[in-house]
Each structure stands twice: as structure tokens, then as C-alpha cells.
């Protein structure tokens, strides 16, 4: 009896969503996912069967890379031009970050001999992931959308309108994080090859001196482990970023759901003021912590895996 009632309610809600009411699921997915592939920002040709058109997450990747590159190189160049190398202001913070990554993340895992080889890669990963995560938290494109709606009134197909479709967190897209994890995968192999030689690196994946029959079981497990670790890196970063945004959006959509349920806007605004906005602010605070922590974890695990390839512990 109860199941039938619940089923009725769910069907009613689904029908409502389709009938032009507020479909929370669709709005949330639209706000987090990439812009549509059929409708990209900049249409580029298709080479070798791969469509190179620029969707929103690709655009965000370029934007984040440009911002990070310009900010860091400008700060460092200005610092290096001084007579006495005393950092101040932003350069001070940057130096603290670099020292933290180099001394607490790279050096304990990789060993003193290889720090200068691997610290640049690890630092790049850290700063890029931090930048991409953080820029996803800033709702600049929503502000541009407001401006567009009330002031600019650009055409339906314009670049500005395209900027409003899809989410801004580049690292919430698992393709982006898969690319970063592929870099880690390659780095592990290169690290092992540099430290021990190409063939020895592959021989080091399994411990030596065991009974031959055990190797039949052990080698597939180790090979699978080699692929599962970058996959876990991918999914961890992508899921954390998506999850945070979905949580914030779901709580904010209570406003609209209650407004529709009660039939008047005041109910929605009331619920919004009392419940939704404070809760969303709290979760946004948590999001900031998660942004920092996930960048740290990705970098730490990369350093650990590189260290494992260099110092074979078995």
C-alpha cells in the first residue's frame, strides 16, 4: 500500500518536472556537467575522428592554465629582478607553498637525490589542480549571466550565452582528471626507468626470489594495481569536486521546490532564508577545505607513487 503511494508521488513529481515545473535533477546536472558537445563554444574541425571543438570545460582548462601561468611567472620574474632576493607579499606566499610541497611532499617520498627532478612536476600538478578547483567555486559566469539577462541582451547563439551553459569546475570532469592521472602514470614509469633502467623497472614491480607459481598470481594483481591507482586518483578528484557542487545546488533547489509545493513564492523565500542559504554557506565553507585537501591528496599520492617506483620496498 505504502509502496504504491510512494510510486504515485514519484510519478507525479516526474510528470511535474516534464510538464515545465521545476525539475531539480535536470537543473543540477546541467549546472555541474560540461556544455553540450553538439553546441560548443568555438567550433573547430574534426581531425582523425576526434572532434576538437571547444566546450566549456576545455575553455576553463585554458583559462585556468593562462591565469596560473601568468600569475606565477609574473610574480617570480618580479622577485628575481630585485637586487637582494627578499620575497614580499604574494611571492612570500608562493615561496611558502613551494617550500611546503618540496619539503613535506616530494622530499620525504622521493629521497634527496631526486627532489630537483620531480619537484617541478609535483608543484605544477598542485598549483594547477588548486587553481582549477578554486576557480570552479567562483560563480563568475553566473554573474555574467545576470549581466547578460538584464543589461547586455546578447543574441541566443552568442559566445556569452554559451558561457552560461554547463559548470565551471574543469576538474569536475573525469576526462580532465583522467588526463592528469595519465601524467602521473607516465611519471611513475619514467621515474622507475630513470632510477633503475627501463627493464629493471618492470622487473621491480614484483618482489624477487619467490616460488614461480606465485608469480602467475602476483603479476596480474600488480599490473592491475598499476592501473587502478591512477583510476582511483581520477575518480577521487572528479567525484569530490562534482559532489560538493551537487550538494550546494541540491540545498539551494529546496527554495524552488518549496515554492512550487506551496504554490507561492513567499514559502520558497522563507525556506531559503531560514534553511537553504545558511546550509549552503556552511557547505561552501566545507567546499573550500575540500578544494585544498583534494589538491594536496592528488599531489601527495603522485609523489608517493613516484617514490615507490624509485625506492622499491618489497
Amino acid at each position: 500500500m505504502t509502496t504504491m503511494f510512494v510510486q504515485e508521488m514519484v510519478q507525479e513529481r516526474a510528470a511535474e518536472g516534464h510538464a515545465g515545473g521545476f525539475d531539480a535533477g535536470e537543473v543540477i546536472i546541467h549546472h555541474v556537467a560540461n556544455s553540450s558537445l553538439e553546441d560548443p563554444l568555438i567550433r573547430l574541425p574534426t581531425l582523425l575522428g576526434i572532434d576538437f571543438s571547444v566546450t566549456k570545460h576545455v575553455f576553463m582548462l585554458w583559462l585556468v592554465a593562462a591565469i596560473v601561468f601568468i600569475v606565477v611567472t609574473w610574480a617570480v620574474r618580479r622577485y628575481l629582478k630585485q637586487d637582494r632576493l627578499i620575497p614580499s607579499g604574494f611571492m612570500n606566499g608562493l615561496e611558502a607553498v613551494v617550500e611546503f610541497v618540496r619539503d613535506q611532499i616530494v622530499q620525504p617520498n622521493v629521497g634527496q637525490k631526486w627532489v630537483s627532478t620531480w619537484a617541478p612536476l609535483v608543484l605544477t600538478l598542485f598549483v594547477f589542480i588548486l587553481g582549477a578547483n578554486a576557480i570552479g567555486l567562483i560563480p563568475i559566469f553566473d554573474v555574467i549571466g545576470l549581466l547578460d539577462h538584464y543589461v547586455l541582451h546578447t543574441a541566443e547563439d552568442s559566445f556569452v550565452k554559451h558561457l552560461l551553459r554547463g559548470g565551471t569546475t574543469a576538474t569536475a570532469n573525469f576526462n580532465v582528471t583522467a588526463a592528469l592521472a595519465t601524467i602521473t602514470f607516465g611519471a611513475i614509469i619514467v621515474a622507475g626507468s630513470k632510477a633503475h633502467g627501463f627493464v629493471t623497472h618492470w622487473k621491480n614491480i614484483v618482489p624477487h626470489g619467490l616460488h614461480p607459481l606465485i608469480y602467475v598470481l602476483l603479476i596480474p594483481i600488480e599490473v592491475m594495481g598499476m592501473f587502478v591507482r591512477p583510476f582511483a586518483l581520477t575518480m577521487r578528484l572528479a567525484a569530490n569536486m562534482t559532489g560538493g557542487h551537487i550538494a550546494i545546488l541540491a540545498i539551494l533547489s529546496f527554495v524552488f521546490l518549496f515554492a512550487e509545493l506551496a504554490g507561492r513564492a513567499v514559502a520558497g523565500i522563507g525556506v531559503g532564508m531560514l534553511v537553504s542559504v545558511p546550509l549552503a554557506v556552511g557547505i561552501s565553507g566545507l567546499e573550500i577545505i575540500i578544494v585544498l585537501v583534494q589538491a594536496y591528496v592528488f599531489t601527495l599520492l603522485t609523489a608517493v607513487f613516484i617514490g615507490m617506483a624509485i625506492h622499491v620496498h618489497h
Binding site: Q7, V10, M235, R236, A239, G243, V297, L300, L301, V304
Partner: protein, 74 residues
């Protein structure tokens, strides 16, 4: 009965949260106890705790992603 996958997803999600909370809770308890035993090693212990903590959290997040997949893809 064709909507039973929602039920399965919800139960799965609850179990994930229980598992992750138990694991991370035990970890935090052990870390706090060992720092209480030897306060001078606090930094090292915190450093050692970081990595498994986030691996556990990663497992929980991975599982949540799969649950979301069940709900979205039916």
C-alpha cells in the same frame, strides 16, 4: 517494483557511510591516542595519518560515484 533500484542505491549509500565512518573513526582514535602517549611525535603521526585517511575517503567517494551511476543510469 521497477523502481527498486532507488531502494538498493539508498541502502548501499547508507552502508558506505557506515563503513567509511567506522574506518576513519578508528583511525582518528588511534592517532589521537598515540599523540597522547608521545606528544613530541605529533607532527610525524599527523603526517603518517594523512595518507591512509585520504585513501579511505577516496574509497568512500568512489563507491558514492557508483551509487550515483546506479540511480542515474537505471
Amino acid at each position: 517494483m521497477d523502481k527498486i533500484h532507488f531502494f538498493g542505491a539508498a541502502i548501499g549509500l547508507g552502508m558506505i557511510v557506515i563503513g567509511a565512518a567506522l574506518g576513519i573513526g578508528k583511525f582518528a582514535a588511534a592517532a589521537a591516542e598515540s599523540i597522547a602517549r608521545q606528544p613530541s611525535a605529533a607532527d610525524k603521526i599527523t603526517g603518517a595519518v594523512n595518507l591512509p585517511l585520504f585513501l579511505l575517503e577516496g574509497v568512500a567517494i568512489l563507491a558514492e560515484v557508483f551509487v550515483l551511476l546506479i540511480v542515474l543510469l537505471k
